[in-house]
Amino acid sequence: MSEETLAQLAMDFSVLSLIAVGGAITVLPEMHRSVVEVHGWMSGAQFAELFALAQAAPGPNILVVSLIGWKVAGFAGAVVATAAVCGPSCVLTFAVSGVWQRFHGARWRAAVEEGLVPVTVGLMLAGGYLITLSADDSWSAFAITAVTAAVVLVTRIHPLWLFGAAGLIGLAGWV
């Protein structure tokens, strides 16, 4: 199973790398689809837990992919998944970064940027929706999600404090 799984991880995540418009969080729905729905590598709740772990740790958000790879196929899985999700987009970025300056102020460049913004927003909202459904299975969990979202929207408090508070509420047995 292991080599086949590694190949599958490499393929899925390198495709993901090239379609991750707007960054790591926008491919959350697609990761969920691939990992939970298509391959059945883990449950939705486990997926949400790995995502939470990655959010609570330092480093780029994309490291959730390392955790997924690790969960699916151990350390080799983590390395393969991380390399796959970063490799293709890094090569592309490297190639384009040299010529980008030339297109400063080009009309198509502005249109591509403007056209991708709403798609990115839609993907972010879809990610929030799906991860909420995966993470929350009680009214109190939904309440924590809603309050966290509201607090982040109206204050500049560091998310780690909110994670801490939510963890304590969980520890108290209220979720």
Binding site: S17, L18, V21, G23, A24, V27, P29, R33, A45, A48, E49, F51, L53, Q55, A57, P58, G59, P60, N61, I62, S66, W70, K71, T82, S89, C90, L92, T93, F94, G98, Q101, R107, A111, V112, E114, G115, V121, G122, M124, G127, G128, Y129, T132, S134, A135, D136, A141, I144, T145, T148, A149, V152, L153, P159, L160, L168, I169, G170, A172, V175
Partner: protein, 183 residues
């Protein structure tokens, strides 16, 4: 804050170390820390250059902060610089997260840890919801283009279309609409 970048050319080792520092400081998003390091502390980029690099990195696929590291590294030392910055950004957090994952697998079944994580997972989901809402209410979306955000949400979250299929269909239309609006 300076408007011009300094003439200093950082060695690959320096790129590696600075990006390691930045990534370890970045809980829940590294970009603000990267900006502070690049623009204000090291002055490797001016504020304007940073904005330009960032807009490219947001436009290209892949994790934005990883793309920024590649761009900045490539600017000074080509492939070697890009690899140094990328490795700096990823290596330390990678091992930290694998260690956390191992701990979680070992102790995750304990009722207390499971309960703790039910709370944290719910909060982490709230963070994503907030990011989405923040972007949705930003100034850049107050136009008919917002329709494409709605279509994307429906296609991905509700219909559960594969992202490749959806993007091939919707992104060209959205970009064409933006071009048409800009006439």
């Amino acid at each position: 804050m300076s408007e011009t970048s300094s003439a200093e050319i950082p060695a690959p080792r320096e790129l590696f170390l600075r990006f390691t520092q930045v990534s370890l400081a970045g809980f829940g998003g590294v970009m603000p820390f990267a900006r502070r390091m690049l623009v204000e502390e090291r002055r490797w980029l001016s504020a304007e250059e940073f904005t330009d690099v960032l807009s490219l990195c947001q436009l290209l696929p892949g994790p934005n902060i990883v793309n920024v590291a590649v761009c900045v590294g490539a600017r000074y030392h080509g492939v070697r610089g890009a690899l140094a910055a990328f490795a700096g950004l990823m290596t330390a957090p990678f091992f930290i997260i694998i260690a956390l994952g191992a701990l979680y697998t070992e102790y995750g079944h304990l009722p207390a840890v499971a309960a703790l994580f039910r709370g944290i997972s719910a909060a982490a989901a709230g963070l994503v919801v907030a990011m989405g809402l923040k972007m949705a209410t930003s100034r850049r979306l107050r136009s008919a283009m917002a329709l494409f955000a709605v279509i994307t949400f429906i296609g991905i979250a509700l219909v559960r279309l594969p992202l490749v299929v959806f993007l091939l269909g919707a992104a060209p239309v959205s970009v064409a609409a933006a071009l048409w609006r800009a006439r």
